[in-house]
């Protein structure tokens, strides 16, 4: 295990940010700390980095007891949501910072900076100031800067949170590829479940200062431990009292399925390639069904139509009738 967090508690005044949190993060993997804003995930990351201190509990990094080690001695790379670029230094100087602090020989620094700027595709910008870069470029520079010191772990605090949707998508794909190249143990904080599912090997779901579940993206999606995880990872609707994903609901225009609930379509909404149908069942449930445009057209769905809905037998509703 690369990072061991044991029984960490952190309070800010009366507010409990983390309550008895224990997590083991494996070496070489890309782990996401996922949860709603204010849930404590950034605090956990900052405690791992040494930028905040835990009130109770211990942190071990690569076998080194790090609980009382200052940030500068932990050898972790940290990437901030708002980049935290050194405004008065050129891109190359930013990346070289950690190496110059470590008094590495000049030619070695230059070679390493060059290599890193190539890695993040910024080699032609090495003499620019950060203010002349776009947000995505700044964040890539910040990443190169963090990687320059060959950290044992790389920590990213909502790294793409300040970027627009398109750049965010590009950068997270790029981050995944980068991780496959560099293989440094990486932990990143996000409140975007799509981002977490797409990029990470493992997800730690954190809510209200507690770990709700730890597992692979598939595990979490298919076998959520509780209602919160299920609801946070994707949309949830209820059919006959069972919580299911809207795309796991079968809809038919005739009562062919046993146990299907009868109802009336109250709304048909098309968003791009998908169609969302809201069905009011006779049992008083409001069921959301998600299907492709082709499928909806084939069925000829329209408002005020009588339909039958039931959970897809192939989909395992792990959270059956919980609470």
């Amino acid at each position: 295990m690369s990072i061991e967090v044991r029984n960490v508690t952190k309070r800010f005044g009366d507010f409990v940010a983390l309550e008895d949190v224990s997590v083991s993060l494996p070496t070489g993997q890309l782990t996401a700390l996922l949860g709603p804003s204010g849930g404590g995930k950034s605090t956990l990351l900052r405690i791992i980095a040494g930028l905040d201190t835990a009130d109770e509990g211990t942190v071990t990094i690569e076998g080194t007891e790090a609980t009382n080690l200052p940030a500068r001695k932990r050898n972790v790379g940290f990437v901030f949501q708002h980049y935290a670029v050194f405004k008065h230094m050129t891109v190359a100087k930013n990346v070289a910072f950690g190496l110059e602090i470590r008094k590495k020989p000049k030619d070695e620094v230059a070679a390493r900076v060059d290599e890193l700027l190539r890695l993040v595709h910024l080699q032609q910008f090495s003499h620019r100031l950060p203010s002349q870069l776009s947000g995505g470029q700044r964040q890539r520079m910040a990443l190169a800067r963090a990687l320059a010191v060959e950290p044992k772990v790389l920590l990213l605090d909502e790294p793409f949170g300040a970027l627009d949707a398109k750049v965010r998508k590009e950068l997270r794909e790029w981050l995944r590829r980068l991780h496959d190249e560099v293989h440094v143990t990486t932990v990143f904080v996000t409140h975007d479940q799509e981002e977490a599912m797409e990029v990470s090997d493992e997800i730690v779901v954190i809510n209200e200062g507690r770990v709700e579940q730890i597992g692979s993206p598939d595990d979490l999606y298919d076998k959520p431990a509780n209602d919160f995880v299920m609801g946070f990872l994707g949309e949830v609707t209820r059919v006959n009292g069972e919580a299911v994903r809207p795309h796991d609901v079968d809809i038919s225009t005739a009562p062919v399925l046993a146990g299907a609930a009868q109802g009336t379509i109250s709304r048909v909404l098309r968003v791009g390639f998908e169609v969302r149908v809201t069905v009011l069942t006779d049992g008083g449930e409001e069921v959301t069904v998600q299907l492709t445009k082709a499928h909806a057209n084939a069925l000829g769905l329209h408002e005020d139509q009588t339909v039958w809905v039931s959970p897809n037998p192939g989909a395992v509703p792990a959270m059956s009738r919980a609470v």
Binding site: A71, R72, A84, I101, R102
Partner: protein
Amino acid sequence: MASQTVEATRTRDPHPRSTARGPHEDSPAVKWVMRVLVVAYLFFLVAWPTSLVAKNTFANGFQGISDALSDPDVVHALKLSAIVAVAAVLINLVFGVGMALLLVRFDFPGKRVLNALIDVPLSVSPVVVGLALVLVYNGRYGWFGPWLEDQGLQVVFAKPGMIMATAFVALPLVIREVVPVLEDMGDDQEQAARSLGANAWQTFWRITLPGIKWAIVYGVVLCLARSLGEFGAVKVVAGNVGGESTTAPMLVQQKYQNFQQETAYSVSFMLAFAAVLCLIVVALLRPKEGDKK
């Protein structure tokens, strides 16, 4: 430093002032009235009186200045003023930057009280400052004075007291310039530096200081201008020891009262010129920084 902050915000904001623009701002009549008001205000309060000093100084060409500079009293006063001002500025530079860091980056009990205390020198009359220092450091009946004098250090009626009085009066200038810039800068960059292995001193020297350097330059210039011109506090502390402890502003008053108006004007002009020179130097240095950003 407010202007620098505004510039920084503007570059980040793609539509500066688009919401702040009032409907009346476009009316040419209002614009002209405002302009005339501002120009008249500045003219009657600042430009005209100052220009009269210059006019009187150069009534006989450079004769006045060269006469003044050949007077040993004037030379001594100017030298003393320079020494006192530079010493006070150095003290305020070190403590000002330290205090600003303390106020912005650290939380401690009594922070708000300290913050309020820093403005005391601006609100209290300099004469009161001088008197207070005399009470504490006076060689005969002050709190510390007799002890210090036993150690061979005379504070009041000597240079150390004059430097203290000047430093006291100009104390908030560096702090008040640096604090908003530090706040605006945030501590993200400092945290990044720490996580990259920099210790406190390296972080300050390589990250914090470059970020606040223009605030410091501006604070120092204001501090220098204020220190050169300080009269009340220094006069009380300097006492009546003849020409030995007379600074340039005090000399202006003496000469003026002794009907040596020409010398008074010349020294006044030199003081004003030094202050303006400081501001010009800053104005010249600054745009370069703007281009680089």
